[in-house]
Amino acid sequence: MTRRDALSRVSLMLGGTIIGSEIFLYGCKPDTVQLSTVEFTPTNIAFLDEVGETILPTTASSPGAKAAEIGEFMKVIVTDCYEKQDQEIFLEGIGKLNEASNAKYSKDFMKLSAEEKTEFLTALDQEANEYNKTKENGAPNHYFSMMKQLTLWGYFSSEVGATQALRYVETPGRWEGCIPYEKGDKAWAI
């Protein structure tokens, strides 16, 4: 049974992407921060940390994605596991995200207030979802779908996410198939 289960655990669903959407056509160029779109720089990692933290922020009950070093995680996965086309979309997506921020707020994403970041990425998420609804098989993925997926995966499989946001039991020692659950009890990590 476990070998069959493994399939669903390792296959991560990626959404689709937007090409040439008009949101990017009237955007200003990034002004102050130079973001690389061909490699992961420390600036990019800090940027991705911020994107991740906006998707999964620190809350009363647990630290956010930044505490799970989500930017570094995205770098490793995109560099080692992504196909070339997706790598390019992802890296260019960093620039696109910032351009879109400038277009909407006349500010780099990093300079937005926490509320603005949430508002902005919420809109971007909806846009990505809309794109994915009509995305044909094999069409390019949406960069924000990648960032969101990587944030969820990287966070909940990290030590912080697994042990603080979820419940991780290394060696359960027993199996109980049918026990009560109370609203608020955390999910098992794996």
Binding site: M1, T59, A162, Y168, G173, W175, E176, G177, C178, K186
Partner: protein, 559 residues
């Protein structure tokens, strides 16, 4: 005794090889077990077993480099970061696919006993009699009553957890306590039973896990990280079970890195005298001699060795006199099933990670049911609550999304079919004399496909799955018929079938090669038909039985 002379040689150290070594050693035979790959020491070499999920650089997933290096393994779940060292290298060990065949191999001490799914089911007379009744291939030379005591014997030692369900098509065994179903599974099982008036059953999986007292073994800890090697020895593997028993006798020599290239055949005595090996590290050739040889290199590889042992007496290979060697390759076809959402049960959960699921034994073409295809299928599956991977429609990003995902989601239930594949002469393996592996050895060519019977069956496998789940109240049921390419079941069987007549079979009813009776083939190669049950438990039973026969024959000076 010269240091290359033994009483017995066992080729391969997986599920059946481990059993052969244990039984031979316990009966007092000095035995050498030859394994083509590296040694894997119990616990010490389970490098990933105690790593938490976040300690894997890529969290377990495959990299582009791995995809490039493993053109076959990449076709399914085995290509992953956590236990890659236990899957054979596609580049070092290529094979020829006349038709696509996904061959996932484990070349190390323990073989795929380290990696297996552990589902353990008995065949019944519905299976042993099917070929004869339907005029398919040839009759099995045995019946359930011949094998039942050996199932008892191996279950008591291996440790099989399960429930006594009283189903004639899936005989009960010597079980350790069953694992519990989840709340949803219990109710779905009850509804299926009611809806189908007791003609269909959903039972807890029978699995090779220690769930109660078993000498020398430790209880399953419900970590569900079995395929990384279990530091507790909670599931049956060569390392946890048969190897220590064989070692304890003082009669076993284990030699890793030993690729058996041929069985040496003496035409005067019509017996094998030993084997020739290639040291996989040094490329040196060695010979080992013994009175009896057990061939347990895994289906396809065991027949490869027989084919590679061709002599002027048997130019098509040892055991080829019937013309059946290499033919009738089978697997279980899968990748078809259904799943959906279960409403309610929000106040129910579970504790631990159960390395097992539920099982729906075969019901088609049994007890008066008659379909437009032969044989049948079983299902494996389970019900659980969704985790953070689920889609939360009401939240986009931010604190609400995060808080929602820290709690378990709703219940889902899914089942996937395991279908019987008929033995077919045209599904075969041959030696490819145009291609060699890393060691310069000719590779095997595989020519195998699903035929009409399997394709018809898959319609039922998909539709029945959806119908049963819907009958049990599962909502939004999705059904799928995905990739049924042979090999993906990782239940390769046949190519050296057993039978009653040397003219139509490779092995006799004791797993002896008709053409060389001191050679026993007791891995999946001997299967005369496939059943739809996970087959490994049967290999254990037939192996123990064959060793018993071999030792009796040796005593009578018949070998």
């Amino acid at each position: 005794m010269a240091d290359n002379v033994f009483d017995a040689i066992v080729i391969g150290s997986g599920i059946s090889g481990g059993w052969a070594a244990k039984e031979l050693c316990e009966k007092g035979l000095k035995t050498i077990m030859l394994e083509r790959g590296q040694n894997v020491e119990h616990v010490k070499d389970y490098h990933s077993a105690l790593k938490p999920p976040w300690a894997f650089e890529h969290r377990g997933t495959r990299t582009q480099k791995m995809i490039e290096d493993y053109p076959v393994l990449k076709r399914d779940y085995p290509l992953n970061e956590k236990n890659l060292e236990w899957w054979a290298s596609d580049k070092d060990c290529p094979y020829t696919e006349i038709k696509r065949f996904d061959w996932f191999r484990g070349y190390q001490v323990g073989g795929r006993s380290l990696l297996w799914g552990k589902q353990s089911y008995r065949l019944s007379d519905f299976d042993f009699e099917a070929n004869a009744k339907e005029g398919i291939a040839i009759d099995w030379p045995v019946r359930y009553k011949d094998i039942a005591p050996w199932y008892d014997y191996v279950e008591r030692f291996a440790g099989i957890s399960g429930n006594r369900d009283g189903l004639p098509q899936l005989p009960d065994g010597q079980f350790l306590p069953p694992m519990e179903m989840t709340c949803v599974e219990k109710d779905v099982a009850a509804r299926i039973k009611e809806h189908y008036k007791g003609q269909r059953h959903m039972i807890i999986g029978r699995a090779a896990h220690v769930t109660g007292p078993l000498a020398g073994r430790t209880l399953c800890q419900y970590r569900n990280k079995c395929s990384l090697g279990c530091p507790f020895g909670g599931y049956f593997s060569t390392q946890s079970s048969t190897l220590p028993a064989a070692m304890k006798t003082g009669n076993l020599t284990l030699r890793p890195w030993s690729i058996v290239t041929k069985i040496i055949y003496d035409k005067d005595t019509q017996r094998a005298t030993g084997v020739e090996i290639l040291d996989a590290q040094t490329n040196e050739t060695y010979e080992y001699k013994a009175k009896v040889v057990f061939l347990n290199a895994s289906t396809i590889n065991s027949t490869w060795i027989l084919m590679n042992s061709a002599t002027d007496v048997w130019p098509e290979g040892l055991g080829s006199s019937s013309g059946q060697l290499g033919h009738n390759l089978m697997d279980h076809h899968l990748g078809v099933g259904a799943g959906g959402d279960v409403e309610g049960y929000e106040d129910k959960y579970y504790y631990g990670r159960r390395p097992n699921g539920v099982y729906i034994p075969r019901y088609r073409n049994l007890f008066g049911d008659k379909r437009d295809y032969l044989r049948g299928f079983g299902y494996q599956g389970g019900a659980s609550r969704q985790g953070w991977q689920r889609n939360v429609a009401e939240y986009s990003i931010g604190a609400n999304l995060k808080e929602a995902l820290t709690e378990p989601g709703s219940w889902t239930m899914g089942i996937g079919g395991f279908g019987e594949m008929l033995p077919d002469y045209d599904n075969k393996i041959t030696l490819d004399k145009t291609k060699t592996d890393k060691w310069g050895l000719n590779v095997v060519a595989i020519d195998c496909e699903l035929k009409e019977n399997e394709l018809k069956m898959r319609q039922d496998m998909m539709n029945d799955a959806a119908e049963m789940l819907e009958a049990a109240g599962v909502k939004n049921v999705n059904k799928w018929d995905g990739d049924g390419t042979p090999g993906r079941g990782i239940h390769e069987m046949g190519t050296a079938r057993m039978g009653s007549d040397p003219k139509t079979s490779v092995l006799n009813k004791w797993n002896q090669v008709w053409d060389a009776p001191n050679v026993f083939v007791t891995d999946g190669s001997f299967m005369t038909s496939a059943g739809c049950q996970n087959p490994s438990l049967g290999y254990m039973a037939f192996t123990a039985r064959a060793v018993d026969h071999a030792v009796n024959e040796l005593k009578k000076m018949n070998l």
